[in-house]
């Protein structure tokens, strides 16, 4: 009988997930004794009755590496450690179904699990590993906010999309002498904003790591108009915050989703700038999920394929409890504990921030 590896994707989707899945399946197909099964919507496919899993043959994954999203579906709610159960009174409670799930996986004849997901997923993986599950992690975050790996797939595609948005906004801002604010993803780390601001050529970039002063921002805008460059492009992370305030967020109304919903910083800036006396014509664009959709750029497909192959090889070697990571120019495996203990924030003295300041970009500080 063939050995089985179960693959699942958890957390928000990002371009490259399918390339990882394909990498795993194609690597397994180079062996004679492994087959790959996919769980639908993260661990939910295993936890549901009847079980929702699909056989991942080479044919099934052919050509999926350039499709965005994930053919397995994903969710950032619930999971084996906090499965939502509706009580008689209509309220929800959450139960731990991990032991039951591990028994079920054994029963299904699963020899190894590869979980592709963000820091939340890696935390779940660590708990499951401690309970004896043969599990391997593949990092996934569009925000590039994991320090164990130089890059995560999906991030460069998001930067490219945000940059193309800046390209477009520059020409319309210049034509109408406007201030245009572009809100991009980045809850705690401003990588997408910073990178697209440099690549697109924005004048102002506001990121969570560097709190801004609204009067400084206004000063930069006024100077641009005074110097005769009658337009301004501002790229802001959804998690950007003023020096004297908090990040804008609201509780998610999805059951079991612990993440706060961020967003609204662009409109807030617009309002606050007006209140501070900015009389330029201002507009906002919120890029939203365009950053997660579409075809991954070559960089991300290559990285995702490398991750998939490496993850499958860890399964072949029986090397569990680890997450694959890119440490230029190698693909390595790091223990979950190391992977989830450190975030990758933009360091104010990094070369990227220095470059931005070097070409005259303001962080509103």
């Amino acid at each position: 009988m063939k050995k089985k590896v179960l693959v699942l994707t958890g957390g928000g989707d990002c371009p490259g997930l399918n390339a990882v899945i394909r990498g795993i399946v194609k690597r397994a197909a180079q062996t004679d004794d492994w087959e790959v099964v996919g769980s639908i919507q993260s661990f939910d496919g295993v936890l549901r009755e009847p079980t929702e899993t699909i056989e991942l043959t080479e044919k099934r994954v052919s050509g999926i590496h350039y499709q965005g999203g994930t053919i397995l579906g994903t969710t950032n709610k619930g999971g084996p450690l906090a499965w939502p159960v509706k009580e008689n009174d209509g309220t929800w409670s959450f139960i731990d179904r991990s032991d039951e799930m591990i028994r079920k996986l054994n029963h299904m004849g699963i020899n190894a699990v590869i979980s592709i997901g963000g820091d939340g997923s890696q935390r779940i993986s660590q708990v499951l590993f401690e309970k004896g599950l043969n599990i391997i992690g593949v990092p996934k975050t569009i925000d590039n906010d994991l320090s164990a790996t130089d890059y995560t797939f999906g991030y460069q595609t998001a930067v490219q999309i945000a940059t193309e948005a800046v390209d477009r906004l520059v020409t319309t801002a210049a034509s109408h002498n406007r201030v245009i604010i572009l809100e991009v993803m980045g809850r705690d780390a401003g990588w997408i904003a910073l990178s697209s601001a440099i690549a697109g050529g924005a004048e102002i970039c506001l990121i969570p790591e560097i709190p801004y002063d609204i009067n400084k921002v206004l000063g930069v805008i006024n100077k641009r108009f005074k110097d005769g460059k009658g337009h301004v492009i501002m790229v802001v992370s959804e998690g950007a915050k003023p020096i004297d305030g908090n990040v804008l967020s609201q509780k998610s109304d999805e059951i079991g989703n612990a993440n706060l919903k961020l967003g609204g910083i662009a409109s807030k800036l617009l309002k606050d700038l007006k209140a501070a006396g900015c009389n330029a014509d201002m507009r906002e664009t919120v890029l939203g999920h365009l950053q997660r959709g579409g075809v991954p750029i070559a960089f991300d497909r290559i990285l995702a394929t490398q991750f998939g192959v490496k993850a499958m090889e860890l399964a072949l070697e029986g090397d569990f409890g680890k997450m694959v990571a890119y440490q230029h120019p190698s693909i390595v495996a790091v223990p979950f504990l190391d992977a989830i203990s450190n975030y990758n924030f933009v360091k104010p003295d990094s070369s990227l921030v220095k470059t931005a300041r070097g070409i005259g970009m303001s962080f509103g500080d």
Partner: protein
């Protein structure tokens, strides 16, 4: 008086050169005492009479970072140490005009030169540096073949362009059950081919670092046309890849056509077509990755001038910017190492290198 920096770019163009130029200028304009001048067409601008140089103001470089090519134009056949000079009898002879170059730099008040270029360009930079020119290099190679920097701008754009070509060729190969061969750049290093083959999903990838045999390519293709095969195939081949037959005889140049002809000679049953991507890989808007890298290198190069760290090159190493002496740059070639993880990954998903 303001200090003057001459910006020179030489060698083949690649997406991101304008972003470098813009970054140097924008960085210089953060201070009041610097002036940036561009030399037209490599060193020609500073060597011609009258000079062909242009002041690079902030206004002049506005918005150029997303334009491919270089506003200064470039030339890969102009070496000041062997420069074509018109002779009295009407003939042209190559002469060493480096002293004239140095004289012109002095007379026109240039304090430093920033030279954007590839391997050959930096050999020139080193020689000029040894003759006392205050020079800083910026690496430029579309082939990713400089060992001293982790990334060079232009390469990721070329890999992206080549990947999109594979995407397109896959659907038409699939529809017509054809073998499609894509020839990409890479005379001595197969990085573009390797990246595009993995990202696009080709079955065969041929690179200069791994000599291939027609028999091996034939076998791999044959398996694609077997009963459980997909009935089409895509090959990505670097222009410098070469075939070695059993007698050790080597075939190179026009390699896509030769592979197609070879397969026909071996009576491969499927229809075979070839595409040569050529200068599409050098043209167009740089992707965000390259624009960022180019901007970083431009800023760093200016700062090296300011710190008077002459005779060095700005590089990107271990996720940070740094610099290295030009002496160390020379003769460090970045070929695809056969133990590189990308080779491992490619083989891991069943890509054949024809070996």
């Amino acid at each position: 008086m303001k200090q003057r920096i001459l910006v020179v770019n030489s060698g083949g163009d690649c997406p991101g050169m304008n972003a470098v130029i813009r970054a140097i200028v924008k960085r210089a304009h953060q201070e009041s005492d610097w002036e940036i001048i561009g030399s037209i067409n490599g060193f020609d601008g500073i060597l011609s009479e009258p000079l062909e140089i242009i002041p690079l103001t902030e206004k002049r470089v506005e918005g150029i970072h997303h334009q491919g090519g270089t506003i200064l134009t470039t030339n890969n056949k102009r070496n000041p140490f062997s420069y074509p000079v018109n002779q009295a009898d009407g003939s042209i002879k190559n002469e060493d005009v480096s002293d004239k170059l140095i004289y012109n730099l002095k007379v026109f008040g240039f304090d430093a030169v920033i030279h954007i270029g590839g391997n050959e360009s930096h050999k020139i930079s080193l020689k000029l540096s040894e003759k006392g020119v205050n020079i800083i290099g910026i690496p430029k190679t579309i082939n990713n073949d400089l060992a001293i920097t982790d990334y060079s701008f232009g390469f990721q754009t070329a890999a992206q362009v080549a990947t999109e070509a594979v995407d397109k060729l896959v659907t038409t190969a699939n529809s017509h059950n054809r073998v499609l061969i894509l020839e990409v750049m890479g005379r001595d290093a197969g990085w573009i081919a390797l990246h595009a083959a993995i990202a696009g999903g080709a079955e065969v990838c041929l690179i200069p670092e791994i000599p291939f045999s027609m028999e091996s390519v034939y076998k791999k293709l044959k398996s694609r046309y077997s009963e459980d095969g997909r009935g089409f195939a895509n090959i990505v081949v670097a222009e410098g890849a070469y075939c070695k037959d059993q007698n050790g005889e080597i075939t190179r140049g026009n390699i896509a056509r030769k592979i197609a002809a070879g397969l026909k000679e071996m009576h491969f049953e499927a229809d075979i077509r070839e595409t040569i991507l050529g200068h599409l890989q050098r043209g167009g808007s740089p992707i965000a990755f390259d624009r960022i890298l180019a901007t970083e290198l431009g800023v760093k190069a200016f700062e090296l001038v300011k710190e008077k760290k002459f005779g060095t090159m700005a590089i990107h190493k271990n996720s940070e910017l740094s610099h290295i002496t030009l002496k160390k740059v020379i003769n460090q070639y970045n070929k695809v190492d056969l133990t590189h993880n990308l080779i491992h990954t490619a083989r891991g998903i069943g890509i054949s290198f024809g070996d």
